[in-house]
Symmetry: D3
Subunit: 242 residues, 6 copies
């Protein structure tokens, strides 16, 4: 039995609220249970140096946690003068995941910056960030289409992400903080709506893992992502952005 | 006529939502019109080095803006490795303002850290932060009283803050971003419920200011703070924390 | 009775020595009692990016203390890799104060950098810096006029600054370090020669302040600034720069 | 046909030279083709704060590239004052991989720091680092056993790592720099001698990946790691450390 | 003929003014022509970690230039977050030079920090800093003797420093900025009152140097240091500190 | 008798292995006994800002130690965010030494960056770096000549460096780490093949030094450098680069 009574293959309640920031071109607050992330997408009419004058676009992401997103307060990274390795790793993952479904060659020479700021953390902040980040990105690009700045939406298909792990030998979907802390192995699956793999990261926290166990986690993840994509599509449709 | 049709002496709509973060000992989202700040108060059972073994407590504050709180995206300060002068100035002001009403000698040897993170900015982020920061601090201290960790609430009286300024020669209360950008002078009043001055900062943006003009701003500010304190008290009362 | 026997409304001995640096376009050492600040003004034939190609000029300031300016030695800020919040706050105040009297639109597209380095500190370093900074700025601009680079002095009127505070309930002018450390409230007035307000900062260190008390401080400050402006003018006249 | 004429499932020439640093408790230079990494293991008789007085040990890793390890010179990270996200990600991966086979509870309260410094890079620096890092760690721990400081070698089994990827639709083992730059997908497998998974990272560089393709990569990786473990064991045996 | 009409073997006017800072235990302003350095010595009743509980003392130095000490303004090092290589090199040289004449074993477990802040630069700032730094150190230690904290002055003998160089093939003593910029070779001699060598640094700026030329520079330097030591002794004697 | 049985005037075994890095335009590993430094020379077709459009070239150097180059592990400098004073001092010395023999006006508008990374340290890392750095520089420039990018080798003559010191009153050549730690005085001589002085640094570690003692060290150094230049020439000749 899980801490909140869920079955092994059940997600926490998922909510996606679009349009939470009046300045950003795209924005949402995504919740996976008590984990809550504010995602904004900013359209900038410039690209990184290596893409200048290529006519191609770019998607990048940044990630941070508010100091009291965590159970006890975490000092701000600006105080140390640099981002932690964990922060960098997560924001690089979010960026790669979104770029894998973005048709950057058809975006025009502009950059979308997706900011994922964790308001409250209870496990799964990186997977919630990718899932909400896609929605903010979709909104920002859809608006460019509506304004006539782009002929059609430069996205292959939706992408979403979910964690799963082995806790006391059992494969569980969508770990909360307590489950994650005690997991023997931890995996993050970034999958597309059609079930393709964008990123897969498996980590044996304690002892190495049998290959069969990864297959078990993968089945859970595919179920989870299917539901997340439904939630993304429902939120976008309700906002007239599908 | 002001951008949003307000009279010169009218605040923007004020809202204070308490209990927005399940980890923090005190928390609220405060809105002054489109300006929205998430304030959390964290109780730490330790104090800065200069207070160790004195039996006295401390209140401190930190301030930051999410990158897309602003009209166009602002780069994160961690990227430059240091907080800007503006950020430091504001968080020092918030900290002094809250300490001025906190009976730090009666708090026990503990520190309350008030984090003010601007989710959306439209002028007045420092005054909203002080106003919401007080509510989060009050909640955190009230909980210590309820748990029996403190005999009574170590607060003199509520404190709140409001900006006012001279725009085209007219004194206006609670400037929004557009008004603030065009103001000839800008003042921030931090006042207690009983109308005493905790901090007063007047800046002539363009040309120096007559003393009579400051008196005019002060009358507006007193009206504004009175209403803010009412909003603070109503929110705390509704949450059973008054 | 004050530590040095002064009456409540009396300044410490003020001295302004012009021409103390052979490289700088403007320079002075200003003393308020034992507080001694070296101010230099540098003319740079370039402006910050936001002013390029506007034909407008700029005035900015930097502030620092030598390590042994203080009673006990203070570590250099370069060792921590960043300026403290106090330093940034003060140098931003000096810059705003000088810009308030500078006709930046009539300065040509050039920048004056005013450096205020505290050689010895005994309270009031920011007010001494503004007072001396004005003199260095005046000298640098006057030299541009003399060289024919400017048609006339682009300054509205002199600006100077003084602190005052409440110590044991009494309003005192120009606090020294010991008085400042024990003050209940602390105010810095930046006023022009004609008595207008450029910046006003009041801080209740301990308990909040009655409004009447601020009025009392203001009367002292106006007296003090009048004498400081006389000292500025006398020094500039003696140097043939008035 | 691959750039160097290899079959798809063939490793580049692997070499492991033990004992290359006279100060380090463990050391080797590992080569995967032209990629060459100097790995040293340092035994420190202290542990990170969170392990103090637990009797448990720790293994951690650091990674860096010499400036001219790369085709064109890469500026040193110290010049920017911080490690890049890529560096942090890699050194965290090396550390987790080594800890997964280390019996840290049986190491005594000491820490082994494994430094992986890339002398020359041609793709696969992180997998070479893990493979060589294990050898240096093994040597350092074996020496503690020989000195009688540990009753037996606190290692579960050897660990090694290899990259594979999809290049023009074909699954290839052990990509060199040119292959890696053009790969559609890139995977790093960290496996134990017995074929268990310690870490698995799959990244679709361009378009998302079918699950069947991952299975194909995995078969290659298992073959590769088997040979790497043989090379590790041969080198350790030759040095009398097996 | 030199820029200021001096003979090749003549120092610029040297002045040493003691007692220029009321907080510091030792202080002076030393001038070598237009080069002017404020030196303060601070006595701290603690030592660096490597000397704790050894009963031994320490002498260390820090060096900096005010931004407008130079012909054109130099940005503050705190802005870059770190000291330049030149600054570090110079302050390490000053520290070693003073330690070479200090009997650190007889100073008690305390540290003297000598700060050398260049108010105005015209060549020779490091040699002026050593020469003035010695005076400040001497004053601080002499005061400890007078207070009875030390039985006798823990100094071997005075130390002073002078630059010399080859300019258009001619050996010159005490180069000013213009001479230094055009010198073929540049040498700094740190010598004791009795003519012993504490530090010697010779740099061929352009083409390598014959050994005979170094001997020529050395003769000049010995003459110069003799006069500097006389100036140090005269200043200390006049202040009752010899 | 010295630790390794050498006579006072005998170098440790010297080895120079050219061509150790396939990417660099010039490279070698130089050994002075157990001290081993990897030197690479990178040709960049750009120069520092102060040389742009002058047609002149530049030579610069960087220096670092791998963490376990030292007896006990030394933390990486990137962790502190800045290079130490020692590192900066050494890399500035290497750069000046190489520039003293480079005909930068005849190099074309390009820069050679010489990286000296210490793989293993046992005293004399800066002198080994200069000696090996010359070889890498020579190789890189010779290749430009061979490619026809330069008409002839823009080098005056070879340069090499050696340390010597006074240990228990005796002058010794080429100190190892243990000798260096106990030396009363320490000198580094950077000399050309023809015996001219490029840099000379003498430091009295403990008590000041007689001038006659420096002369004694110089005789040793000249002998040492002569042998180092022979080793440089032999290595370059064997590689067909002389």
């Amino acid at each position: 039995m899980r801490t909140d009574g869920r079955q092994a293959n059940v997600l926490r309640p998922v909510a996606i609220e679009i349009g939470v920031n009046r300045h950003a071109e795209g924005s949402c607050i995504v919740s996976f249970g008590h984990t809550r992330v504010l995602c904004t997408a900013t359209v900038e009419e410039r690209v990184p140096p290596f893409l200048r004058n290529t006519g191609k676009g770019w998607v990048t992401a940044e990630y941070a946690m508010l100091p009291r997103a965590t159970h006890s307060r975490t000092a701000r990274e600006v105080g140390k003068g640099r981002q932690s390795g964990r922060t960098m790793e997560i924001q690089r993952l979010i960026g790669r995941s979104l770029r894998a479904v973005a048709l950057v060659d058809s975006m025009g020479e502009r950059q979308i910056v997706v900011d994922c700021d964790v308001l409250q953390a209870d496990g799964g902040t990186r997977t919630a960030s990718i899932t909400g980040g896609y929605v903010a990105l979709h909104e920002a690009l859809q608006k460019l289409v509506k304004k006539g700045d782009l002929p059609k939406l430069p996205l292959r298909e939706p992408v979403a992400a979910i964690s799963c792990g082995l806790v006391k030998g059992q494969a569980l979907l969508d770990l909360d903080y307590v489950e994650d802390s005690g997991a023997e192995a931890d995996a993050n699956f970034v999958l597309t709506a059609s079930g393709k793999v964008v990123e897969l990261q498996v980590t044996a926290e304690d002892a190495p893992l049998e290959l069969a166990q990864i297959a078990e986690l993968q089945i859970l993840a595919e179920q989870g992502v299917r539901q997340l994509v439904e939630a993304q599509m429902a939120a976008l449709a309700a906002a007239g952005l599908a």
